[in-house]
């Protein structure tokens, strides 16, 4: 065979290989796909094996019809796009997606999942199952936010917000909002991790749909996958103080008949657990840096240094009392969402089985000591 013929043969084989070997199985036009941005899970009354799924997708066709000009007309794409919900009853997330696919002409994909909404009435078994399915799926974005609701997840995902509700919920924490205090966000992977971890329990923000927005209603606390209680938004602030995750939030500190306002710049918490013969002692040292927003005297006279120090003491006492109260509330349901048990495990790895089986009780019985140190560093424009 001549060189030229050999080369043509090789080229033909390569071309055939290219045709046969095309990865066209995964090639799909972006317009033929539809990303599921929100999943809501509700229990189905009377059918314990089934769950009611709400799948939310952005509706690009409607968006294009509404604005026929080129591009998005200056709006941020995806943030103000109309949405579409699919309601399916199924036993699992993937089977729900498959059923919903029969109702839509675009292929669903879960790579851009933004929010997962759990109804608080879901049983431990249901929640474990759904979380396992979400974590097992390789393509699901594990950085989606998990929220809970005491209403139905469907109502949350039907809220009349500007952007799709799932995007609105995610944007509360994703958009680098400086304020953190009234909510304790939890991502899907963190929820799963805390539920599986020895010595730590998950928590999830509670949301509720209002007339034209979605409101944070506090924090739902779990023991494993079992919801055991919830904290109000105000208590969530103290919970965040215990975690050292408060920032850029203004709170009013009562001082007898009067009160003053401080803006918490940031807080840090240092957790320790000390086993003693009488039982476990849980220590939480909180350091707070704050700015003064309003004084008791309403700036009628200049502020003195001693007064500022007194304010700091008042803040410390106030936070200490309330943080201890919230911690005792968590103890009452044996939900160690702060991670004392895990820290104890790290320092005493030989006690892994003891911690795994009995930490809830030990946490419930432990003595707590919360100390707060506050420093007011700025007083603003007025003296």
């Amino acid at each position: 065979m001549t060189i030229r013929r050999t080369r043509w043969l090789v080229a033909a084989q390569a071309a055939m290989l290219l045709v046969l070997a095309s990865g066209c199985g995964d090639y799909q036009k972006i317009n033929d796909r539809s990303q599921i941005i929100g999943i809501g899970v509700d229990p189905v009354p009377g059918k314990p094996d089934l769950l009611a799924f709400t799948l939310q997708v952005p509706d690009l066709e409607l968006a294009t019809q509404q604005s026929s000009s080129l591009g998005t007309g200056g709006r941020q794409g995806g943030e103000s796009v109309p949405y579409k919900n699919f309601y399916v009853e199924a036993t699992s997330v993937q089977s729900a997606v498959s059923r919903a696919q029969t109702m839509y002409d675009k292929a669903f994909f879960l790579g851009n999942l933004e929010t997962v909404v759990f109804q608080t009435g879901l049983s431990e078994r249901d929640l474990t199952r759904v979380t396992e399915q979400l974590m097992r799926d390789e393509t699901i974005d594990k950085l989606a936010y998990v929220v809970a609701t005491r209403d139905s997840a469907r109502s949350v995902l039907e809220a009349r917000t500007n952007a799709p509700p799932a995007t609105t919920i995610e944007a509360m924490w994703y958009n680098d909002m400086p304020q953190r205090g009234y909510s304790a966000p939890e991502k899907l992977w963190q929820f799963w991790r805390d539920a599986e971890l020895i010595g730590r329990e998950p928590h999830v923000p509670l949301v509720e749909a209002t007339d034209d927005s979605i409101r944070i209603e506090g924090t739902e606390v779990y023991f494993g996958y079992q919801p055991v209680g919830w904290l109000t938004p105000d208590d969530t602030v103290f919970y965040n103080f215990l975690m050292g995750q408060v920032r850029a939030i203004s709170i009013s500190i009562p001082d007898g008949n009067r009160s003053f306002d401080v803006r918490i710049v940031r807080s840090r918490a240092h957790l320790r657990e000390v086993p003693t013969p009488q039982g476990m002692v849980l220590l939480d040292d909180i350091h707070v840096r704050a700015n003064l927003n309003a004084t008791e005297t309403m700036a009628q006279r200049p502020l003195t240094n001693r007064e500022v120090e007194r304010y700091e003491d008042v803040v410390e006492r106030y936070l200490q009392a309330n943080c201890a109260r919230v911690l005792r509330a968590l103890q009452s349901v044996q939900a160690d969402t702060l991670g004392f048990g895990y820290r104890y495990l790290i320092h005493h790895p030989e006690r892994i089985y003891e911690i795994r089986d009995h930490w809830g009780e030990a946490f419930g019985r432990a003595r707590i000591r919360v100390t707060v140190k506050c420093r007011i560093s700025r007083e603003g424009n007025l003296l």
Binding site: E138, L143, R193, Y342
Partner: protein, 391 residues
Amino acid sequence: MNAQNERLYNLSAFQAIALFSSSFLPVMFWIYPTVAVHYARLDAQWSLLCTVLIGVFISWVHGRLNDRFPNMTGPDFACLVWGRWMGKAITALYVPVYLLFLGVSLYFAISLMKYFFPLTMRMWLALAMIVVAWRGAWCGVEAMGRASAIVHPLTFAGILASFGAILANADQPLIPISFTSLSQTASGIYHLLPLYLGMDLILIVNPYYRHRRGKSEWYPVIATAIGGVVVMLVFFSIVVNLGFTPTERLAYPVQVVIQLIRLRGFLVERLGIVIIILSVAYTTLFLGNHIWALSSTVARIVGASDHKFRPFTFFVAPSIFAISQIIATTTQARDIVTVILAPASWVVVVVIPLCTYLIASLRGIRTDTREEIQPEGRQRRAARRRARRSP
């Protein structure tokens, strides 16, 4: 230049280190935290550290072996030390172990790609990678050394940056320091050694890099130390984020944790997925290195020159592809790693080189007295010392 216009050019130190660095890790990289936590529980970090130290030590033994027999490939000095037939038998033992190891590595790499290409047949993904790796091996060790010198520093920097960021962003960075159980730690070490399987490529690259007394024995050590840093960093970033027990439940913990990187405002937000696909570059290079090395080994076993390795790639590359296709599930692949590759790696990576070195030392067999070795390392230092003492 010789009559075939071939350059008999040696690899520089940088190229050799890059080549060595890209010869191990992929078989266990994606699963080792799970394996470590499964066998060693909360002593996983200790077993990992010990494995790294063993790997560094054994790489030094490899370096010393190489310097003892410069200009000879591993099969050649194995025959010299063990005797001809025993040496060939020992070298032949490497072939099935390495074929299996490479097949499993390819399987794991393709399994990860299936995450992002669920509808594409595994066969095509594997075929694409093995063809590119084959082409690299065909080009020869100098080209592979240059490619490694370009790709490996970028990969290393990328891993340091990404996993360093993941580690820094952990909310509760907690690592147990106390030591719990010797048996668990030993079990972990035993099962983690396949991390360094592939290191024996150092022995076949022996004639291709410049040997300098006192210096070239440390090239493999630098490479394994770099690998060790990567391994420890990735492990810590996984366990401080996920904790120990959840890590044990994940099939590919590295893949899960790397997806935690999200660069808000950047052109590619889910950087983790990009990094996983970029790891394909490292794996392809790794496969190419080993196809070349294994082909050269087989060539030496049958008595052909290691420069004429190309025909043997027709045996090695399809075998690796076939093995990767025979493996059915991830659990099967993990069983192969823990049940077959773990003990095999102890034999081929630790026992055989160590025994070879000891026997060579005891019997006084060495070939470094010829002019191939350049005695610039230690002697130059002595000269400088003398110069300082003179008035």
